[in-house]
Amino acid sequence: MLHRSDALRGYLLMSPTLLIMLVGIVAPFVILLTMSLWTRSGFEFDTTLTLANYERTWNEPIFGALLKRSFWISGVATAATVILCYPMAYYVAFHVHRNKMMWIILMTLPFWTSYLLRVFAWKVILGYEGVVNSGLIALGFIDEPLGFLLYSQEAVIITLAHAWAAFAILPMYVSLEKIDKSLLEAATDLGDGPAARFLRVTLPLSMPGIIAACFLIFIPTTGDYITPALLGGPDGVMIGNFIQLQFGPANNWPMGATLAIILMLWIAAIAAVFLFVTRLAARRVA
């Protein structure tokens, strides 16, 4: 009886969240799933349930290619962000002793401006007459502006890697900060040099932060819309842009819904594999 009421109390406590989840996530998901089984006819929907859209994504190479490209761009961006941000998080966790909060705030300061503005800023930096190109020309390294800096996959990767840095620094900082310093001393006492100590103690113990950072960046950037739209050019189009097209000019909402579902499934699968592999690796190191 007591047990039951405990459970009941738990649900009551959770009810605001549950309600939001239900209304804000489950319901739209069900709508999306249903719509993906419809087809378009003119401006209306044909509501007979069919897997035709899924078949199309399987048969037409464009969808697979765009998915692959999205995972590639977002994967590289994720790796770059994590690698670039790890030293920053490491420095603050181990070598800053006073005003840590101020350091964290300083590092996340650029992220107080809107995402869109940051993307535009990169457009200015990477542009044909942008900061990088005019700088290189002024220094005499190049005679003509580098065209590949803008409207390319590289531009998208650079921008994503910067735009999402805050999401990498914070979780990695938290897990590095939690590491018991006496473990490091013990490792040194037992004869580990700095490199071995890092690989055998610090890195495995900060793994949860790294994994969290990877997820936090990989999942949203795969479906990113605005960065490839503004900086990607014809070759930088990602799946998010294509989904938007289905809801916009191509006017095929069911197809858009299908693509969204497929993207979700793929991300879930990749995340599961990634988690499994890192677990395995962590166990082996430990």
């Binding site: 003119g42 765009l66 005019s134 065209g147 409207y151 050019g233 014809p234 191509a250």
Partner: protein, 375 residues
């Protein structure tokens, strides 16, 4: 003076620190000002009408009469292509006035989302050029019309006369297919312009544009062009900046891009392709549930006014529908802009867009988007 120059000037001691700080301040104000402006536009009182239009038409210069009457600008929403606009309105976006073109008119009417316009409520209507009103499907009953014509003109190529070498050839749409300028060519992203240009290039008559062979032929030329294109965009500013910096040497644009670049002394020409330019008439339609019907008529009347016409002709290089707007310009100026008091002279000299079915429109958009993505 650009930033690099300024830094160099500081190093050489030519520019005082104070002057440098002052220009930094100016840059800051310049960056901040549009933000303030945007906020003001958003904060425009709820009781102004909403105008859903192409990028570039959301400026005060077109709304002086409206501004005088109501003290505020209308609210603006901007689209990149009229198909996108229609999809949004079908999805439930309610505006007062929108801005389709002749090619989309029958399809827009068919959706039932619009109401006929009563010309007697427009003070400028008697001056509207009749042949622009007389578009396919525009006749609503009782002397009413569906679309009040506003602007007309051409889609053609704006190219840098100093960077694009014609090599003695005539101006032609082939310029946008010239592999010599790979990665330095630009295009509008909307199929509403680009696909029709593809038809001209492929030699497809607009009467036959709805046929499997036409689709194949146009798709083939669009695929051929795609690797040459730096970027597809519906943002005129992006194309204009790229042309002025030399990032692009030629691009498909509307007349306004060329006129504005010329005003800034960038050496560009708006080509008269030997195959003929793409021509169109655009106008204004009122949403059937327009929440501010009176303001909707004021928006239209303001756009049809002589004042607005002057701006459209002089600053954008578009034709206007108000015949009196042309009085301020001599024949030579109009010729220079590729305009005329008789729109038919210009419109029939180029390729005038022909209305198509919804199925065609959707199929075209889908196919063109795939081609742009590289397939």
């Amino acid at each position: 003076m650009d930033v690099v120059d300024q830094i160099a000037a500081v190093n050489e001691g030519k520019l005082s620190r104070r002057a440098f700080t002052r220009s930094l301040l100016a840059a800051g104000v310049a960056l901040g000002a549009p933000l303030g402006g945007a906020r003001r536009a958003m904060a425009a009182p709820e009781d102004q009408g909403t105008y859903f239009t192409w990028g570039g038409y959301d400026i005060p210069d077109l709304f002086q009469p409206y501004l005088e009457k109501h003290g505020e600008l209308p609210n603006f929403a901007v689209f990149g292509g009229s198909e996108e606009a229609l999809t949004k309105m079908r999805g439930g976006f309610v505006v007062d006035v929108s801005h389709p073109c002749n090619q989309a008119l029958p399809r827009w009417i068919k959706t039932g989302l619009f109401q006929p316009i009563d010309p007697s409520r427009l003070s400028n209507w008697p001056d509207v050029i009749p042949e622009l009103v007389d578009l396919e499907g525009n006749d609503a009953e009782d002397g009413k019309v569906w679309l009040a014509p506003f602007d007309w003109g051409q889609t053609s190529i704006t190219y840098r006369t100093d960077l694009y070498d014609l090599e003695g050839e005539e101006e032609s749409w082939d310029m946008l297919w010239n592999p010599k300028y790979k990665g330095k060519l630009g295009s509008l992203a909307s199929g509403g312009d680009a696909w029709w240009v593809g038809a001209i290039k492929a030699g497809v008559d607009f009467k036959d544009i709805d046929s499997p062979e036409a689709f194949d032929k146009i798709a083939a030329v669009m695929r051929e062009q795609r690797p040459l294109i730096r970027t597809y965009t519906d943002d005129n500013t992006t194309l204009e900046q790229a042309l002025s910096s030399g990032e692009m040497v030629a691009s498909m644009t509307w007349a306004s891009s060329a006129v504005q670049l010329q005003a800034e002394d960038v050496p560009v020409r708006f080509a008269k392709p030997k195959e003929g330019a793409l021509t169109w008439v655009c106008g204004l339609m009122i949403h059937k549930d327009a929440p501010k019907l009176d303001k909707a008529y004021d928006i239209i009347d303001s756009l049809l006014s002589v004042e607005t016409g002057h701006f459209m002709i002089n600053d954008y290089g578009y034709g206007h529908s108000n015949i009196k707007a042309f009085d301020a310009f001599d024949q030579e100026t109009l010729d220079g802009l590729g305009l005329s008091r008789q729109p038919s002279e210009i419109l029939s000299a180029g390729h005038f867009q022909v209305p198509q079915t919804q199925e065609w429109e959707t199929r075209m958009n889908e196919l063109f988007e795939q081609i742009k993505a590289g397939f």
